[in-house]
């Protein structure tokens, strides 16, 4: 997270606007360490591709600086940046064979034919496509084309590889297989990867760190487990996994904890950033951190709530409760209690500990 001087890629206060009016990237600060697998995660249109394009040199930032290996790269044309790029639609040259596609960057670099052939063979082995050199991209399956695109981005041994939703077009099984493959290749080569996806699970599986994008801004950059356990913004709390959000007003602050009035109840919550009495906060509680309190006093926060719906999902029950005027509230109960233990219409005592309830600064609208 800390933007040390040894950062390999650095965005510093980068803004981008295509039309001169709307900023699709706003005040972006991001640093990537060498050898890191960093994912840009965010909803459609949040500016992820734009960031990659600026780094690859196909778009220029409106403001701010981008550095690569400590050097500003604004006046370096794309072909001299030595960045491998995997495009969302593969962008393989359809008239060249797979082998020729891989040889292309080596020929450009004037590499000796025998050495180049060796490199191509190695790259094909890396993506487990030996024997496919003579085929045209059109004669390969989606997953195979994908692997060729990855091999082509790696074959000239760039130190940085950008991948823009490379698995977007694949079915689930192939996707999961490829996530694993890409991760394996990245670890083997120790290359720095900046990866774009809007699939949070994919981001969790693959990344060392994830930068969560929302409307052109980075909401939080952290390791996947940190994002899940310690979201700092309501957007991150709901974008990574499920979360119940409750809006309320701080009525008392005591060190790291605070008392929040949410209408019918007052809740003890963990304060993520300093807030004063009277400030509005958003409380985030994970459905699986909420439990049934058979006896009062099991949890720090407890309420008796009416159950509106129960969905049986095999290993767990999804219980929908109503939390006063805050509306629906979801509780995930492991199926230890058995089917039928909780029924719609029941009034049940539920609760959670104060540490599992995070008081966040509301998203500005």
């Amino acid at each position: 997270m800390n933007a040390g001087t040894n950062a390999y890629v650095e965005f510093e206060g980068v803004h981008k606007s295509y039309d001169g009016e709307t900023e699709v990237v706003r005040d972006l600060h991001l640093s990537v360490q060498e050898g890191e697998f960093l994912t840009l995660l965010g909803p459609s249109g949040s500016g992820k591709t734009t960031c990659l394009m600026m780094l690859a040199g196909f778009e220029a930032p409106t403001r701010g600086a981008i550095r690569l290996g400590g050097r500003t790269i604004h006046d370096v044309p794309p072909r001299q940046r030595d960045i491998g790029m995997v495009f969302q639609n593969y962008a393989l040259f359809p008239h060249l064979t797979v082998g020729e596609n891989l040889r292309f960057p080596l020929e450009v670099r004037g590499m000796d034919k025998a050495v180049a052939a060796e490199r191509v063979r190695d790259a094909m082995r890396l993506v487990r496509l030996e024997g496919f050199e003579a085929r045209r991209p059109g004669e390969l399956s989606g997953g195979q084309q994908q692997r060729v695109a990855i091999a082509r981005a790696l074959v000239f041994e760039p130190r940085l590889v950008l991948m823009d939703e490379p698995l977007g077009a694949l079915d689930r099984r192939l996707r999961e297989e490829m996530q694993f493959e890409i991760r394996r290749i990245q670890r083997t080569l120790g290359v720095t990867v900046i990866y774009v996806t809007h699939d949070q699970q994919e981001a969790m599986v693959m990344s060392d760190r994830v930068a969560v994008f929302n409307r052109g801004r980075i909401e939080q950059v952290a390791a996947p487990e940190v994002l899940y356990e310690e979201p700092e913004r309501p957007f991150v709390a709901t974008f990574i996994g499920d979360n119940n959000l409750l809006r309320g007003e701080v009525v008392d602050v005591d060190g790291d904890y605070c008392q929040v009035d949410i209408g019918e109840h007052t809740i003890t919550a963990f304060l993520v950033s300093p807030r004063a009495v009277g400030d509005t906060v958003v409380l985030a509680v994970r459905p699986e951190r909420i439990g049934l309190a058979d006896e009062p006093g099991t949890y720090g926060n407890e309420f008796v709530v009416p159950i509106s719906d129960v969905i049986f999902l095999g290993d767990h029950l999804l219980v929908r409760a109503t939390m006063g005027e805050q509306g629906d509230f979801v509780v995930k109960i492991p199926n230890i209690v058995g089917h039928g233990a909780v029924l719609p219409g029941d009034r049940v005592r539920i609760g959670w500990t104060a540490t599992d309830c995070r008081a966040l600064v509301p998203d500005e609208d």
Partner: protein, 293 residues
């Protein structure tokens, strides 16, 4: 381009026609429709096709003789074909036509392809205006372009030279190249050029290795149209060409006016065969291009 459009509609028509009409009334209207289409085709083609048998006339007439109508072998001959082969003026015209045609095609193809590539770039300002200017020689009446060429090139000393005529024909042929290459580029994935750049290729290598091979069918059919434009052209030649720049159409023009002989029908037949060949090549390229996608 017009030829393209026609070929396309012809291609899809039979399928619609095969949807069999059931009631007698529908069937009647179906046959009326077919008859009408046939009549239109005859109307379009008959004046051209009639030239072919007449070119084998044994007599120096432009009409069918009694003998020809009775299919007597004596009424037909190859004498007009012999006469054009022997006549040095026709040979010179052929050499001129090919020389000027090929040179103008090269110029038009290079300029038209470059223009289309530039116009396809998203960074290009004022695209519709530039496109309109480039296409304008196609819609301006040839007589106006030709007069313009004449006055402009005269002041440069290029009137009555091969170079002047090549440049004039290149200007007339370029719009065809611009249009066909632009059409091919419309289906071209920008990410391919970006991929080439990210792999380290400069603009020239990207063009040679990635863009050109993929747009080649468009470039070639544009080149054929440009060549056909030059090969057919008579107005600009009348204005600009001297005695040394006589092309085949120019020679035919004087053939009709000066020595009325069916020899020009033989030349016309030769040109028709040539045009058919060109159209066949264009269509073949078009199919190959669409298969590649």
């Amino acid at each position: 381009m017009l030829e393209h459009a026609n070929l396309d509609t012809c291609g899809s028509y039979p399928q619609r026609g095969r949807m069999t009409a059931s009631s007698p009334r529908e069937r009647a209207s179906h046959y009326a429709h077919v008859a009408f289409c046939a009549a239109v085709l005859v109307f379009l083609i008959a004046p051209i096709l009639v030239v072919v048998p007449l070119s084998f006339n044994a007599e120096p007439y432009f009409t069918f003789t009694e003998g020809m109508l009775r299919f007597e072998p004596d009424a037909y001959s190859l004498r007009w074909y012999a006469s054009i082969v022997e006549d040095e003026a026709w040979l010179r015209a052929l050499v001129n036509s090919l020389g000027i045609g090929v040179s103008a095609t090269v110029v038009a193809t290079v300029l038209g392809t470059l223009a289309a590539l530039g116009l396809a770039s998203p960074a290009m300002p004022g695209r519709p205006l530039v496109m309109g200017l480039l296409i304008s020689p196609m819609v301006t009446p040839v007589i106006i372009s030709a007069a313009g060429f004449f006055f402009f090139y005269s002041s440069l000393g290029l009137a009555q030279t091969h170079l002047g005529l090549i440049l004039a024909h290149a200007a007339l042929g370029t719009p065809f190249v611009v249009i066909t290459v632009t059409a091919t580029l419309a289906g071209f994935d920008v990410n391919l050029t970006r991929a080439a750049a990210s792999l380290g290729a400069g603009p020239w290598r990207t063009f040679r290795r990635v863009q050109l091979p993929l747009i080649a069918p468009g470039v070639l059919s544009g080149a054929l149209f440009a060549f056909a434009t030059s090969f057919d052209e008579v107005v600009a030649v009348l204005f600009m060409g001297g005695i040394d720049q006589r092309t085949i159409p120019r020679q035919m023009w004087s053939g009709i006016r000066e020595q009325i002989s069916p020899a020009i029908l033989a030349v016309a037949t030769f040109l028709i065969a040539f045009a058919l060949l060109l159209m066949g090549v264009v269509e073949w390229l078009r199919r190959r291009g669409s298969q590649a996608d």
